[in-house]
Symmetry: D2
Subunit: 402 residues, 4 copies
């Protein structure tokens, strides 16, 4: 049976989480932004304060913890939705992307040393991390385009290449990168690549620039373009087996896409909440906006689209949980197309209802829109997912893609 609702275990946690976000995080958003104003590439002090409160409330590390069984995919999806309601919430609970993905990878495939030196500090929140997959100037959704290469150098490796959209690398706390690179250029496409763990301070690792998203630098995490210039790495840099990079990355991205989409749904709930408040309190021509023009339809359609998006993402989570990644790929692809598109509509309508405030820094909406617009491209553009869905419909296998 497909169960998509709240389990007994997750329900009280969800309520606690929601209350914490409403009381401790949303009221601190503007302070976070002010603190960031003066010093963009360091973490605002209020983040520490909020994290301390989250620890105390037993809400730190909801994704992976040393003390408790992990939540199921469906359970965690519900938690991720709540975290999506504030742009800064996931980090407060040490559940921000790409850290959670890296935690999962190191927990499953990491060597004891990798776990000790990188996973444990990551879970402790004392370091942050990044994931380097996309490359500039090629379509990275085609795994065959990846050109960064690591060749054997004695026991170790020499890594050469360039990566872009390395999200999180701007944060001074970022301790390491997980880098996808070719290690066996002649192997079949899905065994050609490996993942290497690269501390950010390794000689030859150069952040060439930070990339903006609709004018936002997304500090302090940011999105880096990074050059790897003859970067020497020890044998222990390899995560999993040589040639296992594609497999691990697919695994990592599968769950990651669900988390992204569930957070999107939380963001859309926030947008709808703001829209409802605005519609009832803003007056023009003597009436509240809720009684003008098609605003009733706009709000109803937004509710409908959020509900459908949530069900679709929960179903993908349920499938991943019960049938495994291969059988969940199409569900995840469907979700990855549908959810960001629907959610962008919701946010866009909220912007419109807020007038000039909507496009400015006076609401979280404009930045929310920019982040979700990027989501239609990151982790595979809509087009690649649609291709995969259609081929499945035709009973044909889809081409290799990440």
């Amino acid at each position: 049976m497909m169960y998509l609702g709240y389990s007994d275990r997750v329900q009280p946690m969800l309520e606690k989480l929601r209350r914490f976000i409403d009381e401790e995080i949303i009221p601190n958003e503007s302070r976070y932004n002010q603190e960031l104003e003066g010093n963009r590439w360091s973490s605002p002090p209020v983040m520490q304060t909020m994290q301390a409160a989250a620890r105390e409330a037993g809400l730190f590390n909801l994704f992976l913890s040393r003390d408790a069984e992990p939540f199921s995919q469906v359970e965690y999806a519900h938690l991720a939705e709540q975290m999506g309601r504030s742009e800064i919430a996931a980090e407060v609970f040490n559940c921000a992307s790409p850290d959670t993905g890296n935690m999962a990878v190191l927990a499953q495939y990491g060597t004891p040393d990798q776990q000790k030196n990188f996973l444990i500090p990551l879970i402790a929140g004392s370091i942050k991390s990044a994931f380097a997959l996309t490359e500039p100037a090629v379509a990275s959704s085609d795994a065959g385009n990846i050109a960064s290469m690591a060749r054997r150098d004695g026991n170790g490796w020499i890594l050469e290449g360039e990566k872009s959209w390395v999200s999180g690398a701007g944060d001074p706390r970022c301790g390491f990168l997980v880098v996808m690179c070719v290690t066996d250029p002649k192997a079949p496409l899905d065994q050609r690549q490996s993942l290497l763990l690269v501390p950010l301070d390794t000689p030859g690792v150069e952040i060439r620039r930070m990339i903006s998203v609709f004018g936002y630098d997304d500090a302090p995490q940011g999105h880096a373009q990074i050059r790897f210039d003859k970067v020497r790495l020890p044998a222990d840099a390899l995560i999993g087996r040589q040639g296992q990079g594609f497999e691990i990355a697919q695994d990592r991205l599968g769950a990651g896409r669900i988390h992204h989409c569930m957070r999107s749904i939380g963001a859309a709930e926030r947008a709808l909440e703001l829209m409802g408040q605005r519609a009832q309190t803003r007056y023009a021509f003597g009436k509240p906006l809720s009684e003008l023009g098609g605003n009733v339809d706009v709000i109803a359609n937004s509710r409908i689209e959020i509900e459908m998006s949530r069900l679709m993402a929960l179903k993908a989570a349920w499938r991943l949980e019960t049938a495994g990644l291969q059988d969940a790929l199409i569900d995840i692809a469907q979700m990855k197309v549908a959810v960001p598109n629907m959610i962008l509509n919701v946010i866009d309508r909220a912007i419109q209802l807020h007038g000039g405030m909507g496009v400015s820094e006076d609401t979280p909406l404009a930045k929310m829109w920019a982040a979700h617009r990027a989501l239609r491209l990151s982790d595979g553009p809509d087009e690649v997912h649609r291709e995969m869905i259609a081929r499945n419909e035709f009973g044909r296998k889809s081409q290799s893609y990440l």
Copy 2:
């Protein structure tokens, strides 16, 4: 927990049903249409043949049977989806609308005599029925607009008024109508109306015309406009209590909307199946359509929209089942807006891919489209449902509507 999948009980039934439809019904569609061609207002003989086969296969009366526990809302929703794959399937299983709704009403509210004289023959498939709610020239989604009136006449009633869109009344086997009419003009809106059971051959009941949907007469059931001219009815014509009409109708329409939407999803699956076949077998400019233009996107989007629609309708079924009608009203309203609109897109794209065949009688698509277009108006137009959803969002109560 929200469970939307197949129960152990329904799964084997579903497989049997799907096979029966594929093997016994779809291959008979063209024969059904041919038999109908010569004699539009009688049931084609092949319907009897298929019904006999369904009885033998244990598939007759899946909605309500004297021999078995009824399926749950979610279970029946899955069955209804299968039946939606062929326009003529629901009747084969004695599960066509409005008969199922009338069965439910009579089973719950009918007097022993009503059950004996009308429910039992209806379940046996020896008579058919209709439901008369909409009135010409007013917005019937506003319950306050209903003008047909029954006044006391001794122990019995005299019914006056006019109804339109009485679907099923064109069928010669149609034995009775369930008629919504005002019985207490001064009562509060939701207690003003009652339901009366009116045999179609009662003196004063006059079918004034059959209404077409796009160019279809929808024979042999059809949609009748019916005049009630001083129709005398016995005391036993009353279904349920006097003044209970609105309540019973809401109840009836709640589940009915879910059945309609699930059948829509089955129809959309059929459209997508046809689309996929066409895309792979039709060539233009040296390529199959599947490799031309945006057909891959068209097919992928259709799959996505079907999946979302199904989840939304199943959720409404689950809520109705576990929380009751009042708590399910918003879920049902969301479904009632979303599903027909999404499904119309799917069918429309299938039409486009079929070229001229798509708009003609050479595929089931054109008729399917017409029927679903009407569904955006029947059982409440989109606009009324959206209003209800938005008001719920604002925490306000919505106005009374059917």
Copy 3:
């Protein structure tokens, strides 16, 4: 300079035409339909009456007349828009498709005998005509798919093949078909075909069936599927030169697409007019529909879409007039995609605002919708036109298509 407005010559004609349609045609629509009810495959007598009135008013043969200079493309486009306001108007003025296209072809390419025997009676309104291009079971937008073939037989021809969607062939007054067929199978694609003039009563011409459009038979003209079984034709059956079929057909279809689209705009104006009346006179929940939900937006968007559609079609007409067909092909393709899609939206919204009446025979809207839906497929489906537009954008030549 691009001039799209009313010339001094056309303005008074337009006013006269509009008044005639409002006063003489629209009030006769229901009578036309009633007369047709009893005898679908003959022209209702009221058509004669209206045509007589049009003759008297000097409005007969606005497309091509023996007495006056033809109107320019832009001028005629404005006239065609008016005629689109009623489904039966174009025929009243002897300006119905496909007759006008056939008139143009015979006037330009016809032999004196063809003109005497077919063009003159066509202009006189004593016969009607049809155009046979599309073939069943292939994508006829790909000219390479046309399989009907005429081979030399002495001085004459023997025609073999099958055509579908031969609109107008159901009318008992239909005197002849213009048939596109292969005459030089080995010639380059654009010189492979010729047009033959085939009287409908020629032995071997068999109407196999009439095809419906969303349930409508479109009587009395209808859409025929016609078999040509060893049809012997005289030498004089050839229109233009052998191998000139593609060129003439393109020419004919170019202007024809503009006329279709301008009539669509007239139909959309009618739909918007009906929508506006309905919105102001129909009440629900105590308010006119115009003050409920998003109806204001619905009406405003419809107005905007009509205005844009008209400008686009007028521009195509202007380009055809001033630059010739080759330079106007892209403008015509743009119009052919944009206008029917926009207009379908307008009609669909009008249907929604009319509730059940909208899908029934109680307004002209449902039939109007069906006809325009077919227009997205006839004269080339949207997809073929979009391909051509995109290739032009890339500076590449598009493939041969009709």
Copy 4:
């Protein structure tokens, strides 16, 4: 006759302008942005260089010049389109908004002193200007909401109030503001306001903050929130008559909306150009993007939408020119809804085709999108324009709005 094309006068100017933009401006865009990087709130030196070249080429002051007859509305619309192709082009030709609007106001309504002190330097390009209409925290599209007030103080005025979205006020060259404020609180709505000319360095004028649009500060012009705290102004601050503010502003905004929309069309042409280049040069899975998925449709639809948008805006320009503002209001409203929405679609598709580059600073697309998204709100949100269009359809007058 409606003429929308190129006049003999404008055609050579257009060609010159297009060449200048391609050769002198677009190649300087990145230098402009780099120079701005270090010093956001001053004009980059390359702007001076480009302006000098424009002067030499006879392209400076195409909107209003002391030496030549102004172009007609349609002619200038075509010029404005070209300028829209680069975000920085309009300023190069001294045709940037809001300067052109202020030039028009001062040329028509300015006193000789105002013209000497403000108009002449503005035309010379030695100062810039801004227009202060919108107020924070109210719906400024409802003219009744304007609260900034100027009361008489001897011969002069004392101005109190707060304005937001004062575009251009961040530029150090900004010499003066035109401020809309109430001068006769008890007058009818359309005579309640006046325009005052306020030098930016007047005591009491305080820029409280610069507002961002998505993540862009739009430096060096920016969008200011400005407080007027007991600002004393001389009698000569009044532009036009007391109470004439609404009338002048409507006049100013009418033409301004057309210029904005035509520049949008130029921007969309640039986006489509980039899209076409990308589609042909970027490969994935072994094919150029132009042959993958629905990209052909995406490009064709973009071309169609641009063409329709241009025609609609040109028609509004033609109406304004030939019939005057009152008769052009509905055309302008239609354009103001349709054009930004269509153009946003085009830009969004170009973003999608560019992948990560599309949302970053690596193409002009992301910033272009943000600017056009704001255009759906500035100069009246879509909703207000739609309301006006629908009321016109109903034959009713619309409410006063700016």
